[in-house]
Symmetry: C2
DNA sequence: TCCCCCTTCGATACAGCGTATTGACGGATA
DNA sequence: TATCCGTCAATACGCTGTATCGAAGGGGGA
């Protein structure tokens, strides 16, 4: 076929110029779909139709990419409402919702100091909403709530993953780990555990989260002069 | 040199037969010294003077090794004292001490459901020490304290690592991140944050931990009929 | 007692990772 | 126009977890 007849190749769309923002957004999309382990510099680069080393113009290290991903999510988290208790409750729930949107957050959150602009802005918004609280206790208070949230969402996501890995169904967890626990309890070495798991009311994740947060906020309230 | 004169090679000590216990202990030693990233199946195997694939007779996957490491540490964590408050306080502090002994714990803890024998035994001991507490609330209470501890130690270790990475010295953190924060605050976008960091009393990690734990336990105490 | 088969085990191999190196290319300068 | 220099990304390296498969060893049958 002669050149004249042969169509020109479809113009490769000029790859949109790279930017940290595009790189981070792509990485987050990959992580949302397939988890953190699907985020490799090669895969991110491939999704951007670019060689792996191109990314090193924008980030120095993979860790920096993870930092940027984490900070990007902090942009979604802001307190709402009036008064310290409502501010802390809302920011705790917003954080938990963000983790539900981005499960990989559970792997990163709390894992490194958050000094990115969005994390700082979140901190600023929280502190600003805590007016009236003694300047000397406000930091430990916020820190304690953050710690509670971090620990809770980690456990929650860990459990969710285990359930998912054991067969997708909602209560099929019992079918997977149940027998193991049955056998384990049958040894008679865990009587207290057995009693609680058999007899106690089982709260779902939402209720557990709110109950624990309520305990913490109650304790904080009792410790504040107000 | 003739055979007769040449000494026999020192008997390679028959490599002690492998066992999960030996493998896990070796992995923990590696992690204690050089962090979790120093734990690779090859390095563990090399430390045991064994080929990498030998390990697959004892574990099916690297994740299983991490599970075993985590569970091994749970053996060190037990409650002490009488009454629910003392039990919870002691187990929280024991957990924190364990993380100080094994910094890599901060990366794993809370990251997967803990169903190993030592984790279960710890749970059993905690529940057994909580006698008198309503069976329906005892689980959420323990879960909340666990979550607080997990979140706190993660943040604490993250901060410690950042300090260490920025030059070993105790307050050189200020020299590393200080200027960045100075510049950031200079933008005037974080007035509340700036005020708190400048003016508030700064508690050390021990005090922060105990204060937050106190809040939580106070709230729990208020919620229990006792 | 000898031989063969079957099982067990670990060396080799593979695909993927993060990133250091380096060679080629393009633009600015002489 | 010729040369140098700085920039950028393709190649390459060392490492990872683990699948594969050939060899070696032990047990059973003739």
């Amino acid at each position: 076929m002669l050149v004249w007849e042969r169509p020109e190749p479809p113009d490769r769309p000029v790859p949109a110029p790279l930017s940290r923002e595009r790189i981070v957004r792509t990485a987050i999309e990959l992580a949302d779909v397939n988890g953190l382990e699907a985020v490799s510099l090669r895969k991110v680069a491939a999704a951007l139709d670019v060689g792996p080393m191109r990314l090193y113009g924008y980030i120095a290290t993979k860790e920096e990419l993870l930092d940027l991903m984490l900070d990007a999510v902090y942009a979604e988290i802001r307190p709402a409402g009036a008064g310290w208790r409502e501010a802390l409750t809302s920011v705790a729930e917003a954080t938990r919702r963000a983790v539900h949107r981005h499960e990989w957050l559970a792997d990163l959150i709390g894992g490194r100091p958050q000094l990115g602009p969005n994390a700082l802005a979140r901190g600023e918004a929280v502190l600003a909403a805590m007016d009236g609280v003694d300047v000397d206790v406000v930091m430990p208070v916020v820190t304690a709530v953050d710690a509670y949230v971090i620990g809770t969402v980690r456990r929650e996501i860990a459990e969710r993953r285990a359930e998912r890995a054991s067969g997708m169904n909602q209560r099929q967890w019992q079918a997977a780990y149940g027998p193991y626990l049955e056998r384990t309890f049958a040894t008679g070495r865990y009587p207290a555990l057995e009693t609680v798991i058999r007899d106690a009311a089982h709260l779902d994740a939402d209720e557990t989260f709110r109950l624990g947060l309520g305990f913490l906020l109650d304790g904080i309230g009792a410790g504040l002069p107000t």
